[in-house]
Structures are given as structure tokens and as C-alpha cells.
């Protein structure tokens, strides 16, 4: 009979023998050793070379690439002066390398930007990204690229939980989160997260692999989404496509959630001494023609144009109220037909022109005193 080492007189008493207690401790230690061994194996170059990207639990591969690329960028160059925020439109339209080069040509000063645009993210979710970027990299400038596409009914209802409730983000923002902590520090746990990405398709990783290959090829080391393809802007948009596009806008009211999101993003930036420039993202005119197959305008066209005008008023009012800059590509500066990847995304050619224009705007704003030079400490 083993002698009890813990004996407490209660209605329900705990009586653990020394030998059994020791066994429990040894078991716990062995399990810990096993987990540490797993971690060591996962950290080995042999395993890491086979991991396409580090997964942060969002199941949004471009976002995961974006985080990984940003970390690598900061390790190489230090924190950037400015971040570009928004959806796939600024991701495709603003090339930080071109922007920096043009800015240097114009001012003789350097401008290090990183494009942290995330495809499919709403402006409302972008606020979370902004909060993270401010806390970790203290930038001087945010360039927020947006247009009416970010304020549709579909964007109002879009589920952002993959970002907003992401445990890694919660941990990064200083909240206690065991899952987020594990994602940050454990290579093995990030592999577990990567494995989870195939769960929705019954552990089929084809889609994950496809997306991974695409972003590994397209995302530059400054976060820009590079694409050469040219869209035929003269191609007639079929009625079916127009109607499906219009469906996203529901009753053509502006997404309050995203208007408020933009407002909070600017407010947050201002509170943290980060300057903000809101940039109207360009789209091809054929996007808002809304013609039926006979070439006649659809009845929804007017409602859509009203929404676009309403958004302009709202953006102007936010910019005025929060004294931030709001820029739009002037009509005089038309983007060539070869600039488009599709009707609202620019390709490499388009992004070069757009990024140069943006650099000029920043340079002239710095010169006129509307902006402080982003690269000064």
C-alpha cells in the first residue's frame, strides 16, 4: 500500500499516493517532451522547405502571404514609412516600388511603402489591420484606396470574422489569446493551421495549393499584387454579368458599416499621429454603363449613379471633418486601354501610371505642407 502524500479531510477527499503522483508528473513531462519534439521537427529546414507559407488561421491565403511578406520586408529594411490599405483594387493598382522611385525622383527623398491591401476585406476589417500596423510599425502615412465597390450591400453583409475574430490578430493587439500566442510562436501550430485550410473541402488541398502558387508568384516583396494580363475593354458586358454585378448593391443604399469603418480608421490613425490619404480607386467607364444586350441602359443605372454621388458626398464630408486628404485621378489623366486587368483592377501597366501619379500627389502635398514628409522621424 502506498502512503498518501496529500490527505485532506473533506466530504470528498483527495488521496493521491506518492507513486501515482510521480507517474502523473512523468506522464505530463513526457507529453510535453513529445510536443516539443514535434515543434523541433516542424522548425527543421527539411519541413520548412516543404511549407508553402506560414498560416495565421484566417484561411485567406493572400492575407497569410501578406503577413509573411511584411515580416520579411521589415526584417530586411526596417518598418516602412507608409502603408497602403484597402482591397484588391489598391493591391493591384499601387506598386510601392514605383511609388518610392517616383517620389525619390521628384523630391530626392526616399519613401518606403508597403502595400497591405487584402483582397475581399471590407473597409471595416481594414480598421483592424490599421490598428495592428500602428501598434507594430508606427508608420507616418496610410494610403487608403477605395471606391463605391466597397460600399455595396454585399460589402455591408460581408463576413469579416476570419480577420476580426482571428486569434493571431487578437494576440497581436495585446489581448490574451492562447491560440494567437501559439500561432505567433509555434511553427508546428502554424502547420496545424495550414492543415485546417483544407477542412472545408473535406481535406482536399487543391484549392489551397492553387491559391498558394498564385500568390507566391504575384505578390512582390512590398506586398503589391503583380499581374500582366490585359483586359479587352471593348468587350461588350453581357446583361447577365451586369445584373449579377448589380445584385450586390441590393436597394442601392450605402453600406453604413463601411462608411463608419472608414471614419474610425481615419480617427484611429489621427489619434496615433498617422496621416491619412484617401484615394478614389479608378475603374473603367464601361463598369458603370450598365447596358442590356441591345445596348440600352438598364433602369438600375440611375440608382447606381446616385449611390456613387452619395458616396462622393460622404467621403468629402469625412475628409473635411477629419481634415484628411481625398484624391481622385483627374479626368485629364486617362489610363490607357492596356492598363486594365478587368473593369476595376489595374494590371502592371496601369499600376505604374497610377503609382507615379500618386507619388506626384504625395510630393506636391508635402511641398505645399498638406502632408508632413512621411520618411522623417
Amino acid at each position: 500500500m502506498n502512503k498518501a502524500i496529500i490527505q485532506i479531510e473533506r466530504r470528498v477527499n483527495l488521496q493521491i499516493s506518492g507513486r501515482f503522483g510521480l507517474r502523473l508528473i512523468i506522464t505530463a513531462v513526457l507529453i510535453l517532451v513529445f510536443l516539443l519534439l514535434c515543434e523541433m521537427i516542424c522548425r527543421s529546414p527539411w519541413v520548412q522547405h516543404r511549407i508553402p507559407f506560414q498560416a495565421y488561421g484566417s484561411n485567406h491565403i493572400q492575407f497569410d502571404y501578406q503577413i509573411g511578406t511584411l515580416k520579411a520586408y521589415v526584417d530586411r529594411n526596417g518598418a516602412p514609412d507608409c502603408f497602403i490599405l484597402g482591397t484588391s483594387m489598391p493591391l493591384r493598382a499601387i506598386n510601392p516600388a514605383v511609388l518610392g522611385e517616383a517620389y525619390q525622383e521628384l523630391t530626392g527623398e526616399s519613401l518606403a511603402c508597403y502595400n497591405f491591401s487584402v483582397v475581399g476585406a471590407t473597409i471595416s476589417a481594414t480598421t483592424v489591420f490599421a490598428e495592428f500596423l500602428i501598434q507594430h510599425y508606427q508608420p507616418d502615412l496610410f494610403i487608403v484606396g477605395t471606391n463605391f465597390l466597397d460600399f455595396s450591400e454585399a460589402r455591408e453583409k460581408a463576413d469579416d470574422s476570419r480577420f476580426v475574430d482571428n486569434s493571431w490578430f487578437r494576440y497581436q493587439l495585446g489581448r490574451a489569446d492562447l491560440d494567437g500566442w501559439l500561432v505567433e510562436y509555434s511553427y508546428a501550430y502554424r502547420i496545424v493551421k495550414l492543415l485546417s485550410y483544407g477542412a472545408y473541402a473535406g481535406l482536399d488541398y487543391q484549392e489551397v495549393r492553387k491559391e498558394s502558387i498564385k500568390w507566391s508568384e504575384q505578390l512582390t516583396m512590398m506586398g503589391y499584387g503583380y499581374e500582366e494580363k490585359v483586359y479587352d475593354v471593348h468587350e461588350r458586358v453581357r446583361l447577365e454579368k451586369n445584373l449579377s454585378f448589380l445584385k450586390d448593391f441590393g436597394d442601392f443604399s450605402l453600406s453604413r458599416r463601411n462608411i463608419n469603418g472608414l471614419d474610425s480608421l481615419i480617427r484611429l490613425a489621427k489619434q496615433n499621429q498617422v496621416q491619412v490619404v484617401v484615394v478614389h480607386m479608378p475603374y473603367h467607364q464601361s463598369l458603370v454603363e450598365f447596358l442590356d444586350d441591345q445596348g440600352k441602359p438598364l433602369p438600375q443605372k440611375q440608382s447606381m449613379h446616385r449611390l456613387i454621388s452619395e458616396l462622393d458626398v460622404q467621403l468629402n464630408s469625412i475628409a473635411l471633418e477629419q481634415s484628411c486628404l481625398l484624391w481622385r485621378l483627374p479626368d485629364s489623366m486617362q489610363l490607357s486601354d492596356e492598363s486594365w486587368l478587368d473593369r476595376y483592377h489595374l494590371n502592371r501597366t496601369g499600376s505604374q501610371a497610377f503609382s507615379r501619379w500618386l507619388a506626384e500627389k504625395i510630393a506636391s502635398a508635402v511641398e505645399s505642407g498638406q502632408l508632413h514628409a512621411p520618411n522623417t522621424e
Binding site: 502506498n2 485532506i8 479531510e9 473533506r10 466530504r11 470528498v12 477527499n13 483527495l14 488521496q15 493521491i16 499516493s17 501515482f20 507517474r23 502523473l24 506522464t27 513526457l30 507529453i31 513529445f34 510536443l35 514535434c38 488561421g57 484566417s58 484561411n59 485567406h60 491565403i61 493572400q62 492575407f63 484588391s88 483582397v119 475581399g120 470574422s161 476570419r162 492562447l178 501550430y189 496545424v192 493551421k193 492543415l195 485546417s196 485550410y197 483544407g198 477542412a199 472545408y200 473541402a201 473535406g202 481535406l203 484549392e207 489551397v208 491559391e211 498564385k214
Partner: protein, 471 residues
């Protein structure tokens, strides 16, 4: 507070530690407070409903005991009716408010803004209350004189959400008895917890991931082979999920010195339907046997004690299974599920009249296997209306019957189901639920370590959002 969450883990660990450190007279009070804290974390109204039910049954049990000498059966019936009414108000309330709102809006009146929602685990509490009152009336138990103990029995958090359904006469004495959480108890508890987590998180979780995603929404999008395999996977999922959950709760409960009823005992090795219901959701099956089947059967046998009393062979099993269906939810598909299962037992009873049993009681292996296979197949077929509403059940069944094509099944769910059967086999073969305790130390440590890692993986598999694909 979700069961499979870090919050629940912290809650359980801290509850066990505080409980074991407290002086004896405060231990039950602590269990009660912790249980209400847990229930309130879901919704305070659930706790309010439970408290009302507890106060009523505690008071009514005293009244019932004082009037035991009186022969009037309505003294008991009134208590049972109040319990059932209370349950039905919640069970049918939500649908009733919905219907009333439809009528009101059609008539141009403003609609009712509140709705009734069945508190979590309330069906268990009502059945426990009924058995408590019946047992007192039958002098099988004494009414608890201590409100605190009775309230703890009703609210005890390890059985609060999904059982097991505990009898007061078994549970309440444990609250006053001295108990020791010693090496053996800890071994049993840890075994149950590991087994529970393996079943509910690893095995059931893997099956959730591997089952074709919309097979229960649009069955006809899948081949007949997939529809059949989908049903088999669902059966194993349901078993592992529920059996795992109960094992986990039993393991936790052991640390509070309270033994909860075993709820599943290798049901897929059943030889016939009566055997199946002795092994599946045992606490509910036994409750239904004792408080529905037996009284009904006794009343039929009183009139005609013959073995071939046909109404007795038909009505009690059918009514029992219909009550079981209704208990699971007041919907037509669940009633149908009950009726089908009642039908199976009925057919089995009738067959037993004509088929002579082997007097030695020995059954050859192939017959055992065949028996298990038939029972499992029919139980799975009956599970279609358990899982789906009636129109979708019809479509699902049509998908099987029309049999459009054979295709190779995905082998991965079969591996998971194989592991599930293997765990069952160890228990079934040894006749010992805790057979794993006897395994060698190194094997146990290795398996626990693998389980911990597998839990991390599968838990994440289940939580992952859908893959975002850039259009």
C-alpha cells in the same frame, strides 16, 4: 460557455481545485453555485426556469411524501402533469408564438415580440423530476429534506447540458456520502476524459470534416454510394460525439466524487434491437423502460398475462419509442424516427414468438456479425428522419433507392470509423469499460500524447473558416 472551449477547461480545472480544497459542508454549496454560474453563462433565463422547476419539485416531493398513505393516484399525476406542462410550454412555445404571430399579422394586428426557447438540457431535467416524484410515490426513494442537495442534483453542471439522465434515488445519496478521489478514481476519470475527448473531438471531429459537406442539404447532388456512406458516417459521428461527450462528463464528475451513469455501451455490437436500446443512450432508455414501457406493459399483462398478448407486444414498445421521439424534439420527423424504431422492436417481439431460441444461449460468430450488421443498418436507416426533416428525408431515401451509380468510397472516414470500432471492440471483448487502464505505461503515454496532438489538429480543422478564393 461552450463545452469544448478553453473557458470551460479553465472553469472545470478551477472548480475541481476549489471543490477539493473546501471544507466538507461547503462542497455541495460550491457545486450548486458553480453549476448555476455555468448555466447563467449560457442564458440567465435558463437558470431562472431551472430554479422554478427545482422549487416546484422540491416542494411537491414533500407534499407527496406526506400524502403517501392516500390512495388517490391524482396526487402523483398532478405533479407529473405540471412538469410536462412546463416542458411543453417551452418545447412548443417557440413554434406557438411563431404561428400566433403569423395569424396576428394576417389579421392586421401587431405581432408578439417575445419568443420562448427551450432551456438547454431542460428535457433531461423534466424527466428527472418526473422520475423523482414517481419514485417517491412508489416508495423507492425518500424526498430530499435538504433543498441545497436537491438543487445541486437538478443543476449539477457535468450532466446539465446533455445528460446522462440521472435518477434522484441514485444521485442524491452520493451528495451526502463520504467519497475519496484516490488513485483508482483519478485513473478512471482520466481514462474517461481522454476517451471522451478522443471520441468527441478527434473521431467525431474528423468525421464532420470528411462527410460530404452538403449531403444532408442536397442529397441528390451525390451518388447513391455517397448517400449510403454519408449515412454510415453520420451514424458513427453521432455515436462518437454523444458517447464521447458523456464519457468526458463522467470523467469530470468523478473528481467531485459523483459517479454518473454510463450512457453508451458498445451499441454497434448489439445483436438485436432490444439489445441496441440497452446499449444506446442507456440512461434515457432505462428511464423510458421504467416509467413508460413497464407501467404500460404491466397494465396489459394484468388483463391478459399470456406471452402471446398481442396488444402488449405492440402498444408498449410503440408508445415508448414515440415518447422517445417526442422527447428528442416536437417535430414530425422525430416522431417518425420513434415510430420506425418502435416498429423494429415490435417486429422483433413478434418474431420471437415464432422463432425458437437456442437453449444453450450460444450464438455462432457469423450469426452475431449478421445480427449486428442488420441492427446497425436498420438503425441507420431510421436515423434519416432523426437527422433530416420529412421532405429531405424522403429525398435522401429516394437517393438510396433509385441507386444511380457505384463509386469508390473515400477511404479516410473508414479509417476513422475503424478506430472507433476498435475502441469499442477492446471494451466489448474484455467486458470492461476501463480495459485501457491495464495497458502498459509506455503505450498509454504514447497514446495520450498522440491524442493531445490529434485534438489540436482536429479542433483546428473544425474551426477553420471556409477557404477564401479570389474571384
Amino acid at each position: 460557455m461552450e463545452i469544448y472551449s478553453s473557458n470551460y477547461f479553465i472553469f472545470v480545472i478551477s472548480s475541481v481545485f476549489i471543490f477539493l480544497l473546501l471544507p466538507g459542508k461547503f462542497q455541495n454549496l460550491f457545486l450548486l453555485l458553480a453549476s448555476y454560474f455555468f448555466y447563467i453563462s449560457w442564458d440567465w433565463r435558463y437558470a431562472a426556469a431551472l430554479f422554478i422547476l427545482t422549487v416546484f419539485n422540491y416542494g411537491y416531493a414533500q407534499f407527496l411524501e406526506k400524502n403517501l398513505a392516500k390512495k388517490n393516484p391524482w396526487i402523483l399525476r398532478a405533479g407529473v402533469v405540471v412538469n410536462i406542462t412546463f416542458w411543453l410550454v417551452f418545447l412548443l412555445g417557440a413554434r406557438a408564438v411563431e404561428l400566433l404571430n403569423e395569424l396576428l399579422s394576417q389579421a392586421g394586428f401587431s405581432t408578439i415580440v417575445f419568443s420562448l426557447l427551450l432551456p438547454l438540457g431542460f428535457s433531461y431535467r423534466v424527466f428527472e423530476s418526473i422520475s423523482y416524484l414517481v419514485d417517491i410515490r412508489l416508495k423507492l426513494a425518500k424526498a430530499s429534506k435538504n433543498f441545497l442537495d436537491y438543487a445541486t442534483y437538478m443543476a449539477y453542471f457535468p450532466k446539465l447540458v446533455s445528460g446522462p439522465l440521472e435518477r434522484g434515488r441514485i444521485f442524491l445519496p452520493q451528495l451526502v456520502k463520504q467519497a475519496v478521489v484516490d488513485d483508482d478514481q483519478i485513473k478512471r476519470s482520466i481514462t474517461l476524459i481522454i476517451l471522451g475527448l478522443t471520441r468527441s473531438i478527434v473521431l467525431a471531429g474528423m468525421l464532420t470534416v470528411l462527410i460530404p459537406r452538403s449531403i444532408f442539404i442536397k442529397p441528390l447532388d451525390y451518388s447513391s454510394t455517397q448517400i449510403v456512406f454519408g449515412l454510415i458516417i453520420y451514424g458513427f459521428y453521432l455515436y462518437n460525439q454523444f458517447a464521447g461527450y458523456t464519457d468526458l462528463m463522467r470523467g469530470i464528475s468523478g473528481f467531485f466524487g459523483i459517479q454518473l451513469t454510463r450512457n453508451f455501451s458498445t451499441p454497434f455490437f448489439s445483436q438485436n434491437f432490444s439489445d441496441f436500446w440497452r446499449r444506446w443512450h442507456i440512461s434515457l432508455s432505462q428511464w423510458l423502460r421504467d416509467y413508460v414501457f413497464m407501467p404500460l406493459s404491466r397494465s396489459f399483462l394484468r388483463r391478459n398475462p399470456s406471452r402471446k398478448n398481442i396488444p402488449n407486444l405492440i402498444i408498449p414498445p410503440m408508445v415508448t419509442m414515440l415518447v422517445s421521439g417526442f422527447w428528442h424534439g416536437a417535430t414530425l420527423n422525430l416522431l417518425l424516427w420513434g415510430a420506425i424504431n418502435g416498429g423494429f422492436i415490435l417486429v422483433e417481439n413478434l418474431l420471437n414468438l415464432f422463432v425458437s431460441t437456442n437453449p444453450s444461449g450460444k450464438v455462432v460468430l457469423w450469426r452475431k456479425l449478421l445480427g449486428s450488421l442488420v441492427v446497425l443498418s436498420l438503425a441507420l436507416l431510421a436515423a434519416i428522419p432523426f437527422r433530416l426533416d420529412l421532405p429531405t428525408s424522403k429525398v435522401y431515401l429516394y437517393g438510396i433507392v433509385k441507386w444511380n451509380q457505384w463509386d469508390l468510397p473515400d477511404v479516410r472516414p473508414w479509417i476513422v470509423m475503424g478506430v472507433s470500432l476498435l475502441l469499442d471492440w477492446f471494451q466489448f471483448h474484455s467486458g470492461d469499460e476501463f480495459v485501457f487502464i491495464k495497458w502498459s505505461g509506455w503505450l498509454k503515454v504514447s497514446l495520450v500524447a498522440i491524442t493531445v496532438a490529434a485534438m489540436m489538429v482536429v479542433y483546428n480543422l473544425q474551426l477553420a473558416p471556409a477557404t477564401f478564393v479570389y474571384p
